[in-house]
């Protein structure tokens, strides 16, 4: 056999040892720069928005002197540059200003409201991802046959129903008619008091306090809101998973795996590892979009989270609250995307660690 040997040394690619660290450090550097941008934007966006908060606070019957007094009290009469330096200086020390209405530090309000939203959004995205990927993958595997048709029917329904409406329907059926779900009164029933604050996450704090009945109650209160968001977004996951897993199942590497006599579950795993980065990315994007974007569902379930808080702040032109929300949403989004970059980079060897 005449055959010129081929050098195995042709392989190019990242050095595995330093690759992941370089990726992490590079992303973190970018994160810091982007956070600074978000801080500036949150100041500018709010400072140039129309509407006069002092007039709104004073009410329709107030005269000019009262309005000017409020303006002075809130520091709104000072020049923009001065307010910007003040704002950025405060941010560095963790001072986001005080709410115009509650007079509480915005940072404290965020700390008390964010855990409720994070619990809701994290569990909802987890449910949506698991449910949606299973439905989508089954649909892709049985394309055009009955499991696919059933999956697509439900996907279509839950995609078409607005989340708040689904929430109301669930409350009607499971609380009002069947009586198996607790009243939509927030994270706990009216009669229950929140556990001593440790992490701010009520289910965890009630466990820390050793109060199991409170823990169970907090889980029961989570079911309907998580189901609402979970089902609606599961539909989106199912659609994405059906397409990406379907494409992977039709890819040549999967055909080759099958031609090599690999068992069907291994073949499915081969298809899944090819499509998982797309699904993980999708989960990250949905998570970031839901933070604060689920305000209306929070409203429906009287969920005392950051979405409701920000909505109220916006309607009352409570500038520090709005700025705080822009900042929190921006920072969490950036952190999510940074983590996403790192995770995807580690999951997929084709992505260059640069």
């Amino acid at each position: 056999m005449t055959l010129a040997p081929v050098e195995g040394a042709k392989i190019r690619g990242p050095k595995r040892a330093s690759g992941p660290w370089r990726l992490v450090l590079g992303r973190l550097g970018f994160l810091v720069a982007a956070l600074f941008g978000v801080m500036t934007l949150s100041f500018l966006l709010v400072s140039v928005t129309p509407g006069d908060p002092a007039r709104l606070i004073a009410g329709p019957l107030a005269d000019e002197t009262q309005v000017t007094a409020i303006e002075a009290e809130l520091g709104l009469d000072r020049p923009l540059g001065e307010r910007y330096l003040d704002y950025m200086g405060g941010l560095v020390q963790g001072d986001l200003g005080d709410s115009y209405y509650s007079k509480q530090p915005v940072i404290d309000e965020i700390a008390s409201k964010l855990p409720a939203t994070l619990t809701l959004v994290l569990l909802s995205v987890a449910l949506a991802a698991v449910l949606g990927v299973v439905v989508g993958a089954v649909g892709a595997y049985f394309r055009t046959r009955w499991p696919d048709s059933v999956g697509r029917l439900f996907t279509g329904i839950f995609q078409a129903v607005p989340d708040f409406f689904l929430g109301l329907m669930l409350i009607y059926v499971f609380f009002f008619v069947l009586g198996i779900a607790p009243a939509p009164a927030g994270q706990l029933a009216f009669s229950e008091t929140a556990p001593a604050r440790v992490t701010g996450f009520i289910p965890i704090d009630s466990l820390v306090a050793g109060d199991t009945s409170l823990f169970v109650s907090s889980l029961k209160h989570l079911v309907l809101p998580v189901l609402t968001l979970g089902l609606v977004y599961a539909a989106y996951f199912a659609k994405t998973a059906r397409t990406t897993v379907g494409r992977a199942l039709n890819s040549q590497q999967v055909h080759f795996a099958r031609a090599m006599g690999l068992p069907e579950r291994t073949v499915l795993r081969y298809a899944f590892v090819e499509s998982r980065t797309t699904i993980v990315t999708y989960a990250g994007v949905i998570f970031a979009a839901l933070l604060g974007g689920e305000a209306i569902v929070e409203r429906v379930f009287a969920w005392d989270g950051i979405g409701t808080w920000a909505l109220t702040g916006i309607l009352r032109l409570d500038l520090p609250v709005v700025q705080g929300m822009v900042l929190v949403a921006g920072a969490l989004t950036l952190i999510t995307y940074t983590l996403l970059d790192i995770v995807v980079g580690l999951l997929d060897p084709r992505i260059k660690h640069a």
Binding site: M1, L3, V6, A9, K10, G13, R143, Q252, F256, G261
Partner: protein
């Protein structure tokens, strides 16, 4: 007297039908195929004539919307496999019949290392294979397909390989379980001309050295003439002619074969170039 070599694969009246939204299509109709021991049989025909579908049909690799029927698919040592269930087919695929597809980049898993892909293959067919054992076998296989320094390839990923290297890895995978029969579906499509020759030399060499047989699907008559002993000409989903390469090339019986051979430019022929 020359004894006729043992038959490795005997396919009778193979037909494939695929259900599409616009109705049932029949890309392969009544195909008969025979591959004897040590023989390389070329399957030639234009794109869409059913040559790839035929070999995928034999291995039941077509999608769920397709139906494969045959009077018999006799595979030496396994009997008639035409009625085999998917689970039984998995004992044939890779083990009795190796498969080399076109586009080597697409054939390899993009996420797993090459080493892992050798391990998955062996784990599927042999119980109790250790990772270490698998790695040693993989190293030998890569050496056998002319890859010097297989360690780096084993630790690497498909996208880090050149096209020729990737196809060598695919050939190594396809022959790891020592199948007696190889199906090669246009194994050099998309590779450089020089690499094409290397890959064909390699794969036909592996067939000859180990006393294997091969079905080589191609649309290149030059490849048929150079590497195959017998040829099957397909047109419109049917076999229109088959026989020894010499007979078919010298005196083609079917008009399609005549046209196919006539379409190959000959050296010394006057070129009809517009000036």
């Amino acid at each position: 007297m020359n004894s006729v070599a043992e038959t490795i694969l005997d396919v009778r009246n193979l037909a494939v039908s695929i259900a599409t939204p616009d109705g049932v299509v029949n890309p392969v109709k009544g195909v008969d195929l025979t591959v004897r021991k040590g023989e390389i049989v070329g399957v030639v025909g234009e794109s869409g004539c059913g040559k790839s579908t035929t070999i995928k049909g034999v291995l039941k690799l077509l999608g769920p919307n397709s139906t494969v029927t045959a009077d018999k698919i006799e595979l030496a040592g396994h009997g008639d496999i035409s009625g085999f269930k998917p689970r039984q087919m998995n004992t044939i695929r890779g083990r009795a019949v190796g498969f080399v597809a076109q586009n080597p980049f697409g054939s390899l898993n993009p996420i797993y290392t090459i080493e892992r892909q050798f391990y998955e293959l062996q784990k599927a067919h042999r119980t109790g294979v250790s990772k270490r054992e698998s790695r040693e076998i993989a190293r030998d296989m890569l050496n056998g397909v002319g890859i010097v320094g297989p360690e780096r390839v084993l630790n690497g990923y498909a996208h880090q390989l050149s096209g020729g290297m990737a196809q060598r890895v695919v050939i190594a995978l396809a022959t790891t379980l020592s199948p007696k029969l190889l199906f090669a579906d246009e194994p050099t499509t998309g590779l450089d001309a020089t690499v094409q020759a290397q890959i064909l030399d390699l794969i036909t060499g592996l067939v000859a050295d180990e006393g294997r047989s091969m079905l080589l699907v191609t649309h290149d008559l030059g490849v048929i003439a150079q590497y195959c002993q017998r040829v099957v000409v397909m047109y419109g989903g049917e076999v229109v002619e088959q026989g020894s390469v010499m007979d078919v090339m010298v005196s083609p019986q079917h008009s399609y074969t005549q046209q196919l051979i006539g379409s190959v430019p000959k050296s010394g022929e006057k070129l009809n170039v517009a000036r």
